[in-house]
Point group: C2
Chain length 721, copies 2
């Protein structure tokens, strides 16, 4: 047998015993996709079981002839245009996210403010039942509106949105998770939800707001951005902008995107993300300056620091540090438990009833007690003058106000221990339950709220041994819960710093985050990772699993491999596209177009569809590259918006055209990433993840006869075919 | 001709015209390194010109049989031991860096404090000439001591140290840049230098302090850390700890390591770095608490916030923002100019003379004026009671005090415009000049000092249009200089935040950083990049150069390729080691040990030397893998400390042993990273950089005859052979 044929056969299937018999060779030549031999190694089962219907993204540059021609021909004006557009988009994302943040804040403050005013008014007239009916009615209407928006317009908008963005940046494009309708529902649904008094945050929807900008990118003059790489950059910027707007924490936003969301990072992106969040910060700052004059209703009194706790010099030593360590450990356990419960979405409702008593106002405070309006710390509720209701102070306020109350220093006994315990358990449970219902929501605020309650409670209990202020304990409690659920460190530190403006506590916050994350890591994974898994979104970890070290790439290749010749019969291509779900096919050049069979590169399904639609076919097996380069531009092959590309059904190929040939060279990516078949699976996986690949070719280590070229199985690396 | 031979030849050289002639084949078989054909493509010259004598590091895991055997046999105790050690090292680095930071601070404060006290004493007695002589004498002695330390013990210690650490983490191990003697000189030299009143920072040496921990890793029980990967992690932690200790900015330290220093990053490392800097923060905090009681002499009054400028609510609108934008633009230009001048190391000394006048003390201040001790803002110098000397207030203090003075708000006219202009130009020039002299020094403090002077000057000039405090202008000026020289954004933001504790200025700081970096980027590169280049340290950028897109890997491979057979003659190996400087050699299996010639993997020079020293040779070409696996453990091949590994001269091979055979399979890394010869050079470079490789094999795209396997040239990827 001559080498060429054996090589050709080897290209299509890999099989240890496949020594003799050239019978398969002709089949393969005629219809490469029908190679009959299958890989019989058992390891396929290990990593090849999890097949999913979600498309994956392709962050690799397809360096085909069209791309190269375009790259060479790009002049300085076009390059300048590209750079300007890139920064313009970052600017627009920053501006819009900032505006949405302001709008959302104003809306929430005014809706719930109006509601509270109404209730206080009724209670002042001692119409308690009417007040309750109005309170319940308002909230039911608001919640129902939020749920209806979600249910009828965009069911995908329920929940935080951060796990979806995280999955997108890891390389998964689940249908419509970033569609404009989802964005609309996210914004209005979260406003209604927060106003209804739900224990939800609004940072998740904000992240989304930034991210959704990608769907505007279908105009032709934006052709340079029609690829997954540039969209990924924009969405990363959007995620950072979202967190920056939600917490007024621009640097924290950048770090959140870096630490939690982005699978892939480079310093140029850091710089652009920083620009975006700086724009957000300036927009927020400008509106706050404007609103401070009272023109925005009840908004704008918080300032840039949401929960300013900057206080006199903090003193701490042995006992305080010990108390903080205990706080961190318990916080970590509670955080892990939170994740566990969110994961199970326990639908047990805890009923809060009775327990309404009035507390005499402290005499040594500057503000009026009980408060005459709805913003103060001392709610009157049903109490006589000179008394205030501490439960109402916590429950009958927006989440932001409750957090501010809990962080507030100097008045230690403002909240009773039993009140704090009740509030903590209620918020802890409500947060878990609410996250499961179908409204757009965030996780940060509920966690901060529960953590602050827990911290203040513990601060009260530690009073005998620690002199640290209970307000600071509340802050540390929030940090411990955040560490226990989110498992972020640096970004959490900066976000807390930016939220509270208390730099002197930094060493303690770092200590608490370290401890609570370490403790919680022993129980389960971070909450976003859990939700990603729960939603069935595939996620590729940055590290290799231990079992991968004992396997090599050859062990997990799936067969039969479907390949094309450099100049292939139209019928063969159509058959392959119809009968398989693969998105990439290796292209092999054979004599007389090369001296020997050789790997020409990889061709993508979407590119094949566009090429077939162009119908540049020839009767003979001859090169037609020049014709194709003349007729097509690289942007004809740019990635279209979802659902807008050429589909298989759109093709209208005549019977006689099926027997004609098409030249695949111009659209073949001549630089696919490859590994040798003996490469350990662990290293191959790291390569795959580090470079954000969708396809990877496995090439033979043999340099003589018996060659193999295979793709890794779709389930492991090419995540969804 | 049969395939096998042609393939074999192709393995050793790649040459387009090399069609006929099997004459080279026997040569190659006998002595593979003597393949006569050379790659004649002209592109080698393009990327192959820059050859350097510095060793590069190997961050790849050598997955050979020994590694795999060890990996399989590691039990839970060993894995636990490894993890505990990893964290223990992070803890030790944090503790030591914190202690060195405290020690260095105490030493500087006390040395210069004592000196100042002496001078004031003399001046109070009107012995001005004696005072000057003491001042000059002290400084000359201190400076000479610093220079002598440098010159006689460790010349490598001169300068900042950050560029060296940056180069190390990029993959370059320049001789002794991180040796213990360098560390010693760094610490004491920088103390002497700062005390001598030089305009130098101490953060560079601090970074070094953290980094040098790697040299303690030569004990046997630390066998798990004897590889470049784990050392890289430790040095990254050390760099973060250094910045954290120098500026008391733990989060800023993490981000500095992330943004500026590390070429390679993963979230697990973020977490460990965070831990290290948290330890540093706690050590510093503990000592400050201790020193606040006055037990450390003149140290400890600064607190955790070095230059606390937190002030009343900052108001700014149109004119202020405009002023800040102008400040940013000018700052960027000055920053770029600074880089340019540092690069040229202009040795022009500007003489400061005369210009001593006394200013009446302001009447509305709480502190005494002139100060009775040496720490205050209002230096008396030669002035009568009730007057103070503003030049002395800036020059006659440690750098930290000068910065604090410049940032100090509320007293606008404390420094005259002419004083500020003089101070700015002097510090700007002195900083540039001092950096060039041979003492250990940092760049941060000089840049902050010059920037603060510039900012305060501009603040005075903008007085008519902007109501922003001049102290805040000084802070923004420092930010603009830092942005213009260092070109960092996020980490600079956090470091400034942690230095000054002023969160409300954050939007303005972000704006200034954005503008100054953008402006300066038009002129030149960041100062650390420039110094790396100036020192001749090779540095591989994260992005590919444009010309790389038009080349493929095949274009830059160098020949002749030196390869070994799986079981190779000892003489051949020795000859190859002697005649080449390569650190990695491809291993090819040939019949009868495989069905056909195939790529077995890559073997490292250091591993070959250890194997040859073991002398497990056989008279016949037979496998001896089991014997080798029995006789060696994986740690015998672990990377030794510099200068401690087996050297070629250490080998004592007898004449008859030269004709014997040695089995290379157990030490061959069977999973080398490979690219196909048609891979575009740009993508190959990105792969190389992203994965931190030292060697990369180029394999043939041809799947039949005419196979090639080559290494990329040492100058481009395998940076120094």
């Amino acid at each position: 047998m001559d080498v060429e044929n054996r090589t050709n056969r080897g290209l299509h299937t890999f099989n240890e015993e496949d020594e003799g018999g050239g019978d398969i060779e002709n089949d393969a030549k005629e219809l490469p996709l029908l190679g009959k031999r299958r890989n019989t190694t058992s390891q396929i089962a290990i990593v090849g079981a999890n097949v999913c219907p979600i498309e994956s993204l392709d962050y690799e540059i397809a360096e085909n002839e069209l791309f190269k021609q375009d790259w060479r021909s790009r002049n300085k004006v076009q390059i300048f245009q590209y750079i300007v557009l890139k920064w313009a988009f970052a600017l627009i994302i920053g501006l819009l996210t900032g505006l949405v943040g302001v709008f959302s804040n104003i809306a929430v403050e005014n809706i719930s403010g109006f509601q509270m005013l109404l209730i206080y008014d009724l209670m002042r007239k001692h119409q308690y039942y009417t007040a309750f009916a109005v309170y319940a009615g308002c909230n039911i209407v608001l919640a129902a509106a939020a749920a209806a928006l979600c249910a009828f317009i965009a069911p995908e908008a329920a929940g935080s949105g951060i796990p979806e963005v995280k999955a997108y940046l890891n390389g998964i494009d689940a249908h419509s998770i970033l569609a404009p309708s989802t964005l609309f529902v996210k914004i209005f649904g979260s406003i209604l939800g927060v106003s209804a008094g739900f224990v939800v945050g609004k940072e998740g929807p904000m992240v989304h707001t930034g991210g959704s900008r990608k769907y505007h990118l279908t105009w032709t003059w934006l052709r340079y951005f029609k690829n997954d790489r540039d969209r990924r950059d924009l969405i990363t910027c959007g995620a950072a902008a979202g967190v920056a707007a939600a917490f007024r924490a621009p640097v924290g936003g950048v770090l959140f995107a870096l630490e939690e969301v982005a699978s892939w990072w480079r310093s140029a992106l850091l710089w652009r993300t920083f620009f975006t969040t700086a724009v957000v910060a300036m927009v927020l700052r400008a509106f706050m300056e404007f609103c401070a004059t009272g023109k925005c209703g009840l908004f704008g009194q918080g300032g840039l620091i949401m929960y300013d706790v900057s206080s006199e010099k903090v003193q701490y030593s042995g006992p305080e540090v010990l108390a903080v360590i205990i706080l961190g450990i318990i916080g970590g356990i509670f955080g892990a438990l939170y994740n566990y419960l969110v994961d199970k979405v326990l639908r047990t409702y805890s009923i809060i009833n009775g327990y309404v008593t009035c507390i005499p106002c402290p005499t040594d405070i500057a503000v009026s007690c009980p408060n005459t309006d709805e913003t103060g710390n001392y709610k009157s509720f049903q109490c006589p003058p000179g008394y205030y209701n501490d439960i109402a102070s916590l429950f009958l306020s927006t989440n932001d106000d409750a957090i501010r109350n809990l962080f507030s220093a100097s008045i230690e006994k403002e909240f009773r221990i039993s009140t704090l315990a009740l509030f903590f358990s209620a918020v802890y449970c409500l947060g878990i339950i609410t996250y499961g219902i179908a409204i757009p929501s965030g996780l940060f605020i509920p966690v901060i709220l529960a953590g602050a309650g827990y911290g203040r409670l513990l601060g009260r209990l530690f009073r005998p041994i620690s002199k640290l202020d209970t307000g600071l304990f509340a802050l540390l409690g929030a940090a411990s819960f955040l560490g226990g659920t989110m498992r972020m460190t640096v970004s959490m530190c900066v976000i807390l710093l930016e939220l509270t403006n208390d730099l002197l506590l930094l060493p303690l916050v770092m200590l608490v985050l370290l401890i609570s994350k370490t403790v919680a890591d022993n129980f389960n994974k971070g909450v976003y990772d859990q939700i990603v898994k729960l939603k069935g979104l595939p996620y590729m970890e940055a590290h290799a699993e231990p079992y991968m070290r004992t396997l090599v790439a050859r062990d997990v290749i799936s067969g039969p491999l479907v390949t094309f010749l450099g100049i292939e019969k139209v019928g063969n291509i159509l058959h392959a596209l119809r009968t398989t779900g693969h998105n990439g096919f290796p292209v092999i050049d054979e004599p007389p177009f090369s001296d020997a069979p050789e790997l020409c590169g990889l061709v993508l399904r979407s590119h094949l569809l566009v090429l077939l639609k162009g119908k540049i076919f020839s009767k003979e097996r001859v090169p037609a590259g020049q014709e194709i380069l003349r007729r097509f531009a690289v942007f004809d092959f740019a990635k279209a918006g979802s659902g807008k590309g050429v589909k298989l059904e759109d093709l209208d190929i005549e019977e006689e055209e099926m027997e004609m040939y098409v030249d695949l060279h111009p659209i073949t990516n001549a630089s696919p990433y490859t590994v040798v078949e003996t490469m350990s699976l662990a290293k191959a996986a790291i390569l795959f993840r580090q470079l954000g690949l969708r396809h990877m070719c496995v090439v033979p280590k043999s340099l003589g006869v018996r060659h193999t070229l295979s793709q890794l199985p779709s389930s492991l690396f090419d995540v969804c075919g």
